[in-house]
Amino acid sequence: MISLDHVSVSFGGLKAVNNVSFDIPSGRITGLIGPNGAGKTTLFNAIAGHVPVTSGRVLLEGADITKLKPHERAALGLARTFQIPHEFSRLSVLENFMAAAAAPLGENVLNVVFRRSRFLAEEEAVTRAARQTVRFLELDRVSDEKAGNLSGGQKKLLELGRALMRAPKIVLLDEICAGINRTLLAKIADKIKELNTGRQLTFCLIEHDLDYVSKLCDNVVVMAQGEVLTRGSAAEVRRDERVIEAYFGGGKYEGRA
């Protein structure tokens, strides 16, 4: 479980995230929605450690991880994807997945120069997992292509695949579905559900498609202007007047969004 305890993130004078507190409960799929500029991605960056919080705490299974570096948080089982694809552009698709895996023996510089037999078993397992990920995401045809040459949608799939290669406990998915065809979208939704029920993986996903969010998430948090507006089941928040206002303007939030 991730707990956010009065988290704020400021960039200069701009309060991107303002005093946000909520839990991402274990074994659940939590949706994070809100209009553009609501602070959703910044909040993800703060949870994963890519931007420092100005105040407040981030807790993972009760332990304070606010001061940990991103790679240390990743080692604790936290994985995230990026809204704007961050592919390893000159690596092949297969290599992107392999590079995302944990490979402590093969990443030891003395092993790779002097004791090469030590990491072969690990490397074989990494290769097998990467090939499975390629097949699952239907990237077989571009498996050996440099990731920089992929289409926008394919890069999104690459993001998802790399997160799954981490064998994580908690996955933060930032608009993973934008630009992906409908058949594959349904397949990804099924996979998320399967990982959630089968392996008890915890997900938190930012998505703009409310139908998709309703289908997947048992628990939705709505953000607007850096603050939590409301939370509840998908059906509840869709009926909430304030959510409609925040998305479509009018009333309290007019002119400020």
Binding site: A48, G49, H50, K69, P70, H71, A74, A75, A79, R80, F82, H86, E87, F88, S89, R90, L91, S92, L94, E95, N96, M98, A99, A100, A102, A103, L105, G106, E107, N108, V109, N111, V112, V113, R116, F119, L120, E122, E123, E124, V126, T127, R128, R131, Q132, D144, K146, R162, M165, R166
Partner: protein, 317 residues
Amino acid sequence: MEWTGLFFYLVSFLIASGIYAILCLALNIQWGMGGLFNAGIAGFFAVGAYASAIMTTAPSDKHLGGFGMPVPVGLVAAAVLAGLAGWAVAKICVRLKSDYLAMASIGIAEILRLVIVNAERVTNGSLGIAGIPRPFDGWVQGRAADLLFLGFVWVIVAAAYVVSQRLHDSPWGRTLRAIRDNEAAARAAGKDVERFRLQTFVIGCAIMGVAGGLTAHEFKFLSPAATEPLMVTFLVWVMLMAGGSGNNKGAIAGGLGIWAIWSMTEILTNQLLPPEWITRSSYIRILLIGLLLQFVLQKFRSGLIPEASPPIRFKGD
């Protein structure tokens, strides 16, 4: 007689280009695989050159030591001291983004070189260190010794190539290339970016130090003039870009090819230019190399032998 002259011109050409090939391999680890813009090659090269010279020369009152050690000991000292210098620089600036690292590394390398020039009691300043031995000195004389030294240099080129290749074709190298391509994503994938960069910088600088040591043994005399950034830093960058950044074979090819062009421009400028221009010929050669770099960057941006992903070790599922 003409032919033996040509032959030994070729020998000295291959010695010098072998040393450049080692420098290119080292820069390829740092820039080609790691994306670290080291613009201070000359500084680490100088540390290695002076370390090996001081370790291997006979005792002298003009400079520190010498300690009269065998050449391989000198080269190990060169690698260790240049690697330590690299570690210190990396500790300070490895968090910097590539262009800022370039500026910082130029500055620090120049500081290293100036310290060497001015620390007269250690290095004998601008007068330099004389009487630097070669490996196997006394076994053979004259030009046969050049041949032996050529073999020695290319054994080290081969060793540097094997190390570079193992680094490249490994999970370590893959992670390094991933960090080069996207730092934030590498961090999100649990990679300790600072640790990889530190290792990369130290390994590259240590190999640059060995190249510096070899240069000292090649000329048997070492003065600050041998560590000019133009001939060490700038030319090595041209070589790696032309040969193929990210590819170890490209790095060696770039060292050989650009050194061949550089040597030929010397013949050209000396033969073709009017006598009153000869004194300025070195500047014209630099201009020619600069033009060549422009051409390479415009037309062959990935170099003669472009970067390629290593083969996947395990097939099937």
